[in-house]
């Protein structure tokens, strides 16, 4: 089943080449190759247009789908590492997430670039969900291809897919669970919402509606009373429906003040298999909220005040979270730190490098300066000396004991400072600098010579991270810089014996941190483990069916005044979109539980069928593997509920669809900078 996926149309030159082994276990089943080509350009002033002649075989969509294929195994809780090897240079990289994978590939084709730009923008804001984005982009591009093959006009595909996206986003809004209600009875609220989702059907049928309301129980009992009082409002129960009208009902049920969510519980639901990383995040959040008197409840988690520090060589159990900012320092600096510990220190913050040759950003150095002199001078050597002297005197006069530099400091200055018991800490994050400035009253300056009394802050403590001092073999020690209670800075120290795994650990930590951050900011969660997706599938299919009927019974009625006829392909497109989501769920199941794809799909469709027939609630899919009898275990009594972030998921879906729509509408590439003597072997290229 080996598949060779050529990312771009066949070409004679390959510059980057990556081989993916899907893990040892799956190696036998297939390995994929992905080739990315580079066209060498010779003459700069010419244009090349690569036109996709046959619309029914949209090359762009095929490329998108091929690219998405490489991320299949990075979905779900059990991600598999990928080894990327460049055959020309012999270099290799270990990639553990979709984003890292794309980052390490040389994507030169237009679609590849577009994909990378989209994923990078998403990753920057959300720190997670790139795999989901790319998978769905691939799945929906296959859906779009199929539509094209069936002769559906592009405009129809776009309008139907956009409508499908609206349906999905609507489902997300309706089935979301607020973080504060999480501790109470997550299962019930989930049932209530998924039940409420049947509303579109039930609205016509009051009998069914009352039946539906009977399912509502648990925390909603108070609400039930209100509901039973007035028959019609039963449907309006769910706080996700008719928000304006149901206000009285919701005020009756909800406490007047916003209850603080149980961070640990929220985090546990969001760990998605990375329990270790998530525990660190929980600890970080705890430390942060402890330090912040306004936010004892821990209803927010500020990622900008979180830093990571990697420690190669120590076993992973040594990973921990510390207050303040943890940095590596040399032995010499460590002894200064030892000397300074337990003291309230005065701090100076330098936003730039600490060296005499450093100039601020935007400063243009003179290129050629000659010294003209009648005597022989040796000033150039002493200039640096003079500067160092000046800075040291200044630091001593200001009684500064700690200098935090965002850039690097010259070796000489560090040594001289050490002798004077001044600790210089390099490569501090800008956000760390800002937090320290806020907490101590120090003003960051660009040049050390700018320092004055006003710029110096007070009240910082340094501590040597003890565990490390004894065991470390490398001449480096970690020191934490902290203002104690005030700055809210926390650092996660990530240790691993395998250095190449550190990046993966760091990525996992950040993914968890961002997930928690966004969940607490949104204050809502989505039921995870495929439940949201299954609800979307259900509603997409339902919508597809409904419109189909309406279109048949009265085609004329459906028409708006603008003369737009009802989209005859809506049903087809939406069903294909739903198919993409089913594919997503089953792929996650395959990755998680070692079940075969076929079995996973059967399980999903069985679940969907049950739901459609008797309105049973969706229980979370079990990813724990198969039972003896071969059927998938239903997690009726789950140990822990799995949740997904709402904004991450919505944004990933939307971006995926945007990507598909952009590529779908694109019918040609204009490649600039290709000469007429280019080996135009490719049949679909036309020179202009």
């Amino acid at each position: 089943m080996a598949a060779i996926v050529s990312c771009c149309p066949a070409t004679s030159k390959y510059s980057a080449c990556a081989v993916f082994h899907r893990s040892c276990r799956q190696l036998a089943s297939g390995n994929r190759k992905l080739y990315c080509k580079t066209l060498l350009n010779k003459a700069p002033r010419a244009m090349l247009a690569c036109t996709i002649v046959n619309h029914r075989q949209h090359v762009g969509l095929q490329k998108l789908s091929a690219l998405a294929g490489i991320t299949h195994s990075s979905l779900g809780p059990n991600k598999m590492y990928k080894f990327i090897r460049d055959e020309t240079s012999g270099e290799s990289a270990l990639a553990c997430s979709c984003f890292r994978l794309l980052e390490n590939l040389e994507l030169t084709c237009g679609v590849g670039q577009l994909v990378y730009e989209t994923v990078r923008a998403h990753q920057k804001v959300y720190g997670a969900g790139s795999g989901c984005l790319l998978f769905l982009a691939g799945a929906w591009s296959r859906a779009a291809t199929e539509c094209l093959q069936k002769g559906v006009p592009v405009a129809r595909i776009i309008s139907a897919m956009s409508e499908g996206m609206d349906v999905c986003l609507d489902v997300c809004r309706k089935c979301s669970v607020s973080t504060e209600s999480l501790g109470a009875a997550p299962a019930e609220s989930c049932a209530a919402t998924s039940q409420g989702l049947g509303l579109n059907l039930l609205k016509k049928n009051t009998a069914e509606a009352s039946q539906a309301s009977c399912h509502l129980r648990g925390t909603r009992q108070a609400a039930d009373k209100t509901l039973n009082a007035s028959g019609r409002r039963k449907i309006k129960l769910s706080r996700h429906f008719y928000e304006t009208e149901a206000e009285d009902a919701s005020t009756a049920t909800q406490p007047p003040r916003r209850k603080a969510p149980d961070v640990a519980l929220v985090a546990a639901g969001l760990s998605h298999g990375y329990v270790g990383a998530m525990n660190l995040v929980i600890e970080a959040s705890r430390l942060q909220s402890k330090n912040n008197p306004q936010d004892v409840s821990g209803s927010t988690f500020d990622v900008s005040k979180v830093a990571t520090c990697v420690l190669p060589g120590l076993p992973e159990e040594n990973s921990c979270v510390l207050q303040g900012c943890v940095v590596h320092v040399s032995d010499e600096q460590a002894s200064v730190a030892h000397h300074l510990k337990e003291q309230h220190l005065k701090v100076a913050l330098i936003n730039g490098d600490l060296s005499d040759t450093y100039r601020h950003l935007g400063f243009k150095r003179l290129q050629a300066v000659q010294c003209v002199s009648d005597r022989v001078h040796f000033l150039s050597s002493s200039k640096a000396e003079e500067w160092t002297e000046k800075v040291l005197t200044l630091l001593l006069n200001l009684e500064v004991n700690l200098v935090v530099v965002s850039g690097i400091a010259s070796e000489k200055v560090i040594q001289r400072c050490c002798r004077l018991h001044i600790l210089v800490v390099e490569k501090a994050n800008v956000s760390v600098l800002k937090a320290l400035a806020d907490a101590t009253g120090a003003v960051p300056v660009t040049y050390a010579t700018q320092l004055s009394n006003r710029c110096v802050g007070a009240g910082v403590k340094v501590a040597i991270w003890g565990d490390l001092a004894g065991r470390q073999t490398k001449p480096s020690t970690a020191v934490s810089v902290s203002t104690g209670e005030r700055d809210g800075l926390v650092t996660a120290v990530l240790a691993s014996c395998v250095p190449s795994k550190l990046q993966a650990l760091e990525d996992q930590f950040w993914a968890c941190a961002y997930r928690l951050h966004h969940a607490l900011t949104d204050a809502v969660l989505l039921p995870g483990a495929g439940v949201t997706e299954m609800l979307c599938v259900h509603h997409l299919r339902e919508r597809a069916e409904r419109r189909h009927d309406a279109g048949r019974s009265g085609g004329g009625v459906q028409q708006t005044k603008a003369g737009r006829a009802a989209n005859p392909y809506r049903g087809l497109v939406m069903n294909l979109m739903a198919e993409g989501l089913v594919d997503y769920i089953s792929t996650v199941m395959v990755n998680a539980g070692g079940v075969s794809k076929v079995r996973a799909r059967t399980a999903v469709s069985q679940r969907l069928k049950n739901h459609a027939e008797n309105q049973a609630k969706f229980s979370q899919l079990s990813f724990a593997g198969e039972q003896e009898d071969g059927s998938l275990r239903c997690s009726d009594a789950p140990a822990a509920q799995v949740y997904d972030g709402m904004s991450v998921k919505q944004e990933a879906w939307r971006r995926a669809l945007d990507l598909v729509l952009l590529v779908l509408q694109t019918d040609a590439e204009i490649i600039t900078g290709v000469g007429p003597n280019h080996d135009a072997a490719e049949g679909d290229m036309m020179l202009l």
């Binding site: 006009p153 592009v154 935007g362 400063f363 290129q367 050629a368 300066v369 085609g555 006829a565």
Partner: protein
């Protein structure tokens, strides 16, 4: 013809390329110039013209296809369908193609809209002239004559495809704006989003028109700021100018900032403390001299004067030395650096300040400007300072949001075009019916007129009746093919035989639903009815005089095109086509 001569330039280049030492000089034979006779008979040029026409045609209109522009070595990818982005990316090895491209680009730079219209029309006219078999000189004369007919008709009061714009109501302005914005599919906007942006565009346009200023009226400016990653519906217009100010959070707004108006100084010279303005070269410096310190001293002296003159807002186009910034901030002055060239003119207009271009004189009092008020605005991750002019504001800032960079880029282009087109309406307060109706209407008019042409005009043109009909046929087919280019999904383009509006039949509608699905014409003024007679475009339908629609004020057009832009585009297209037809030889220096 072939000249053998010493060409040092070429030789030197060669040596650099091959790495041969420049000591040895060589004689290089210069290649003879390449001359192409009758470029339009050249098959290579014809293929490329055809390819260009297909490329541009496929981009046309709201359902047009997009193009990915990239360099294939990992550079930035632009996805677009707008002529102002597409045409600069296209550069052909054939200067003939570049001639047409440049002409169209010139139109786009002046009128922003209708670039694709002009290009497609021009290329169709060339092709039609070739197919007609007329001699090119006759074709040129006829094209000029027919263009005259069109422009004359469009300028008539009772022109059937013109709509007077009424500034008392924003309805038509919004329609005009929406037509432009929704003709850019790469923005990926839903209908409500497109409407939102159109309303904002009109709002921004209205904010740039000063209301009660006596004497000479000067239009203000709408500045665009793009913010990636936010929903389109978050886009907003702010009066005044928004400038990025990442670290203004420290400003105490209550402090004397309220004592308005605030004095402003604006520097166009770099205050980075370097000597970059001296240019390249070798500098002789005495060893004991520290140039950096001396410049910094000069800067601080300058700043001292500024502070003494009670300036509260200090703006520099380029970088400001950190020491200077610190000095200013400690004295309660708000500092904005790296403003960038594009905003300088707007800020000069807003504050009335004169940019200071040197550090070496004292600043004259009249160089200072004023702002009435300032406030801090947080938008997403950005912190911006909103500056209000001391008098009436004619400057506004539009914050455009979109989910990703590609679509945001296109949205920005679309918005700027819209703003420009709305400004053009002040000069010529009318619009043309969109959706292809103007093109079909004009075609019917020209066809009708040319049949009735009297012998005098024929003799003045120096051609026969048959030639005129042949030329007019080509001209009308070109116009109709532009209208037909709006359809991309295999639908049919038609025109009704009374008012000559443009209609489309989708390819996928069943026969029995055809009547119902006809709905409205391209511009939305006419409603379909079963008794209407229609003909497919580019077929031999009988000529008729297109009747203007009786104006029912209740029915408003749904799609409008800029009059000024289309009027000019029509002229540019015909004149460029005539120029192209007139080219006899292409002489190319291939050295």
């Amino acid at each position: 013809m072939v000249k053998k001569r010493h060409n040092p330039g070429v030789e030197f280049q060669k040596q650099e390329q091959t790495g041969i030492s420049p000591v040895m000089s060589r004689l290089v034979q210069k290649s003879p110039s390449l001359c192409t006779d009758l470029p339009l008979d050249n098959s290579d040029i014809c293929t490329k013209l055809y390819l260009l026409r297909q490329l541009l045609k496929s981009c046309f209109g709201p359902t047009g296809r997009l193009k990915q522009v990239h360099n294939n070595i990992g550079g930035h990818v632009i996805t677009t369908s707008s002529s102002s982005v597409l045409l600069p990316a296209i550069s052909s090895s054939q200067s003939f193609i570049n001639l047409i491209k440049t002409s169209i680009l010139n139109h786009v730079s002046r009128f922003s809209d209708c670039g694709l219209f002009a290009a497609i029309l021009c290329l169709s006219l060339i092709e039609q002239a070739k197919q007609s078999g007329l001699s090119f000189s006759v074709a040129i004369k006829l094209n000029k004559h027919l263009l005259g007919l069109c422009t004359g008709y469009l300028q008539q009061e009772d022109c059937g495809c013109k709509v007077k714009l009424d500034f008392c109501s924003s309805h038509n302005l919004i329609t005009l704006a929406r037509s432009i914005i929704s003709s850019k599919p790469a923005c990926v906007l839903t209908e409500s989003e497109a409407l939102h942006i159109s309303k904002l565009a009109v709002h921004a346009f209205l904010l740039t028109v000063p209301c009660n200023r006596p004497g000479e009226v000067r239009l203000g400016k709408a500045v665009t700021v793009s913010v990636e990653g936010h929903p389109v519906l978050n886009s907003a217009v702010f009066p005044g100018l928004l400038v990025d100010a990442p670290d203004v959070s420290g400003i105490d707004e209550s402090e004397n900032m309220r004592s308005n108006p605030l004095r402003v100084v604006l520097f166009s010279a770099s205050l980075a403390g370097d000597l970059s303005e001296l240019g390249d070269g070798i500098f002789d410096v005495h060893p004991g001299v520290d140039t950096d310190l001396q410049i910094l001293d000069r800067l601080l002296e300058l700043v001292k004067q500024v502070v003494e003159d009670e300036v509260k807002l200090f703006v520099c186009q380029k970088v400001i030395h950190p020491v200077v910034q610190q000095h200013l901030k400690s004295r309660g002055v708000i500092v904005i650096e790296r403003l960038g060239n594009p905003l300088m003119e707007t800020l000069t207009q807003l504050t009335g300040a004169q940019p200071v271009a040197t550090l070496h004189t004292t600043i004259p009092a009249k160089a200072y400007g004023e702002v009435r008020d300032l406030s801090i605005i947080h938008f997403g991750s950005r912190t911006m300072l909103q500056l209000h002019p001391p008098g009436e504001s004619s400057i506004c800032t539009m914050i455009l949001c979109h989910r990703n960079e590609t679509m945001l880029g296109e949205l920005k282009v679309a918005f700027q075009k819209t703003e420009h087109v709305l400004r053009l309406t002040l000069r010529e307060p009318s619009a043309l019916l969109g959706g292809g109706c103007t093109e079909t209407h004009l075609a019917a008019y020209v066809r009708h007129k040319s049949i009735q042409e009297v012998p005098e005009t024929l003799s003045a043109l120096g051609c026969s009746q048959a030639e005129l009909l042949l030329g007019a046929g080509g001209f009308c087919r070109s116009l109709e093919s532009v209208a037909a280019a709006l359809e991309h999904d295999g639908g049919n383009s038609l025109m009704d035989l009374t008012h000559a509006h443009h209609w489309t039949h989708p390819a996928d509608v069943m026969r029995e639903h055809l009547d119902e699905s006809l709905g409205f014409c391209g511009c939305g003024l006419m409603e379909g009815s079963p008794e209407q007679r229609r003909a497919y475009l580019n077929t031999n339908y009988p000529q008729f005089s297109p009747a203007p629609l009786s104006r029912d004020t209740a029915v408003q057009p749904r799609v409008l095109d800029s009059f000024a832009a289309k009027f000019n585009a029509l002229q540019v297209a015909v004149e460029t086509a005539n120029l192209a037809l007139d080219v006899r030889y292409l002489v190319q220096d291939i050295n």
